[in-house]
Symmetry: C2
Subunit: 229 residues, 2 copies
DNA sequence: TCTCGTATGATTGTATACAATTATACGAGA
DNA sequence: TCTCGTATAATTGTATACAATCATACGAGA
């Protein structure tokens, strides 16, 4: 539980605390703040023109998000993510994405099914044109559709969490041409299994899809830079 | 889940904020605060003799923990957990406990293996004596040993999260005699599979163990009371 | 009686002030 | 030169004060 994947997202983007939270989060994911860098309350507060109070509250949330670690009476430090952490998350995700595909097969709506088909159609188009930006966007969206279609807010939240978490590492993974094509083909097969109502197949394909994505990352050396310890 | 399951636990139990956090959390899990009850900052602060500041920070964390929901400018409300949520979590846990058993098979240390054997031995003893309290304790510990033995802090954290989360529902589940006996037998089989180095078997047994635990809960009607929506 | 607007109170959001803790610098003594 | 203790500065922890928002009560008008 700690929370668990049930935790709420920071929805009030318009409160100072929400804005601070999102800004720091983004800066960490973007790599502006390096691993083990110390975040000072006053500095961030001054930068955004707010007092320490909303900054501190944002820190507490970021700690539970796993992005920073707060040492009592000392400070807040950006947490690292090891290569093994990434591997573990992908293995966990693999199982849960499989479960998600299974539940999506049982619960997907007509509209969601259509959006998924459209997504794949568009992906194949942009792949043929070499549009990396749109490809990444569509890839994310494909998984989101599946998360929504599985009809479980617990599972959806867990998967979104994992997805967010590995974003730090993943960034430009999809930009290789060969992986893009393979990924599209895998998406299509998953979609077809869902459409046919073949839950076993959908689960198995989604399983494999995650593992393939991970192995591609390893092969192209996208992980090592983030190693620590 | 926010993060993800990677988020930190609240470790500084000795800060006011940490104490407030743990107290509120416990009160929610214990059922002192009912679902949808509104938590007021001043009231809780006065009760514990602290100001609003540490209470507010604790609230932010509890929100990400999924125990409360904060509506901007309105208040903090205890979140409910539906029967479907519990079911979903158990299905997710089933998969991840299986993975955990697999990794434990590959990574367990000699000391951990011995503690696990001792745990089972003690469990069977207390079962024969009908000591419900110790049984529950040992059951929790069995899973913790496996979490530690899997040698993955990501997976360990995720599983501890889920475990904590369903504690609200589970409470006295194990107290039925028949389930206690069956649970012990399942633990023993998992342990033996790990000891023999049979990862596939360990995974499969741990999978099934979770599902059995869930089905037992349903059969005995431990869930319905927590339903909402 | 019902509806709606206003006023009042309650509660949260943020800023600031002060206390406690930790880090750093510097100098005395060996 | 090195070590260690003290003083000072910097930073976090908590309390309080004020601002903004929301809920409630009440009364005027229809």
């Amino acid at each position: 539980m700690s929370s668990y994947d049930v935790k709420k997202e920071v929805t009030d983007k318009y409160s100072l605390r929400g804005r601070v939270f999102n800004k720091i989060r983004e800066d960490i994911l973007n790599g502006r703040y390096k691993v083990k860098e110390e975040l000072r309350e006053v500095a961030i507060g001054e930068e955004m023109g707010v007092s320490r109070t909303p900054v501190r509250e944002a820190f507490r949330q970021l700690e539970l998000e796993g992005l920073i670690q707060i040492v009592p009476n000392k400070g807040a430090y950006v947490t690292g993510i090891t290569a093994k952490d990434v591997r573990d998350i992908y293995m966990m995700r693999s199982l849960l994405e499989g479960l998600c595909a299974r539940w999506a097969t049982e619960n997907i709506s007509k509209e969601q099914m259509e959006e998924m088909e459209e997504n794949i159609f568009l992906s194949e188009f942009h792949a043929s044109k070499g549009h990396a930006e749109q490809m990444a966007e569509l890839d994310n969206r494909f998984h989101e559709i599946m998360y929504e279609a599985c009809n479980s807010k617990m599972l959806e939240h867990a998967l979104k969490d994992y997805h967010q978490y590995v974003l730090r590492v993943r960034k430009k993974t999809l930009s290789t041409q060969t992986r893009s094509t393979a990924s599209n083909a895998e998406h299509r097969k998953i979609m077809e299994a869902i459409k046919e109502g073949n839950a076993d197949m959908a689960e198995q394909l989604a399983n494999r899809h995650m593992i393939n994505a991970y192995e591609n990352m390893v092969k192209n050396g996208f992980i090592e830079h983030y190693e620590e310890e």
